[in-house]
Symmetry: C2
Subunit: 259 residues, 2 copies
């Protein structure tokens, strides 16, 4: 990357996983519709961990191994046969997950986490937890002396833009710039912030107007889209952990003390 005079950007935004930064960073994985939102609500409803499965086969195998886990996810937007829940924050909200875990497999969000798993810190962000995730990301970036990298999941295996992810990234940028530890945003982060500033007038409508939002509404999943548009609903930050045999798990990350 070539940069002009001035500070080197310390707040990077990648609209697609393919252009995610290659260097070390505190990463925030953003899949607003719906994997990030489902993980946040699952932790909010008490789940002690969310196991991230790449395939239906792996998801079903993990479900058999961990009998107290529910099986959640989607292919083509809908829960596969035998699943307990869709990739649905709205359904997760109605579930009592205290003392339980979740196995989650989704089209794009899971792939994104696997792609980022080599980074020192990977957090999960969306509109629902934007202030909390921004606060944790800023604290981690300061402690480690690393930039923050917001990485959008996109669609079609991460090859295509998902506008709702950029809106979510812009929301997180807003809070990061408001925090005491100033970060220098790159051009993509500035673009995301502008998109969020326009969309925030009516976030439910903005999410419903995205391609993915329209697809989910056509599947009868408009409640999920509307719920994912809520800002700062949960003080919950899922953090990626790499376990034995490459197992990827999200666990709730403690929030730094309020300033």
């Amino acid at each position: 990357m070539v940069h002009g005079q001035g500070q080197r950007p310390s707040l990077l935004m990648a609209p697609l996983p393919l252009v995610a930064p290659r260097g070390a960073a505190v990463a925030v994985a953003i899949d607003v519709l719906r994997a990030s939102s489902t993980a946040v609500v699952a932790h909010g409803r008490g789940a002690h961990r969310v196991l991230v499965a790449s395939s239906l086969r792996e998801a079903r195998r993990l479900r058999r191994t961990f009998a107290d886990h529910l099986l959640a996810g989607e292919r083509g937007g809908l829960p596969p046969p035998g699943f307990d829940l869709g990739n649905s924050p709205w359904q997760a909200l109605a579930a009592d997950l205290r003392g339980r875990g979740l196995v989650l497999t989704t089209s794009n969000g899971t792939r994104l986490l696997r792609r980022l798993a080599h980074l020192p810190v990977v957090l999960v962000g969306c509109l629902l937890n934007r202030r909390a995730v921004a606060t944790v990301a800023a604290a981690q970036a300061r402690a480690l002396g690393l930039p923050v990298a917001l990485v959008c999941a996109g669609e079609a295996g991460g090859r295509e833009l998902a506008l709702e992810d950029v809106i979510g990234a812009g929301a997180i940028v807003e809070t990061l710039l408001e925090l005491g530890h100033p970060l220098e945003p790159d051009e993509w982060a500035r673009l995301a912030l502008l998109a969020f500033e326009a969309a925030r007038r009516d976030l439910p409508s903005a999410l419903a107007a995205t391609r993915h939002g329209r697809q989910l509404a056509a599947l009868g999943l408009g409640d999920d889209v509307a719920y994912c548009a809520r800002l700062d609903e949960w003080e919950v930050v899922p953090r990626l952990e790499r376990g034995a045999e490459g197992l990827l798990a999200l666990r709730p990350c403690p929030l730094p003390p309020a300033r």
Copy 2:
């Protein structure tokens, strides 16, 4: 490209030249700071054509061949030795170009035009001529049955985002969606529109805050940045023509009759 159900997008936006659509399209080349803006003002001030030169050597050769042409352009933001003008709409505004031509060479805008030159229609757009260029692009797309593709020049040889180009693209999207012939925007075009909606509250400040805007201000070229932020200032649309020996020239394109 994979698209969900519904209409296939007919209004495409590429934030960088590398992701410009490969199929036939009515293209609008967008380099707000400053090549597109300079070309628009040059035509507005009477220039009958703008010859697009890829290198300083080619630019100087063309200048010698066409004695009534002025030599304009930049490297690193500033006019090279012996040039009559910078790549500067502000300077072009003060020049009387009636009956004259311009030879223009710039870091990124020229490369973008060369990359798009195989397409059936290539127009030059920016904030200064956004309503005019949107009107011509819509009419051409309708006549030819082609999508409209807005392609941003970017920076660093087109490898990096230039936020001002996305803002300019969003301004053009706004007018395209207002015209009678409805175009279906892709996710990038929707993102650009959101960015423009937020930036339009204060376009001079939005352009001044971009990386390129800050670089130009540091070179003492803030007047150019402020001028490029004017919306719908000129009813002028440069169109690319391919001449003998691969010579690329911009000529003013007639506007369709007012509806």
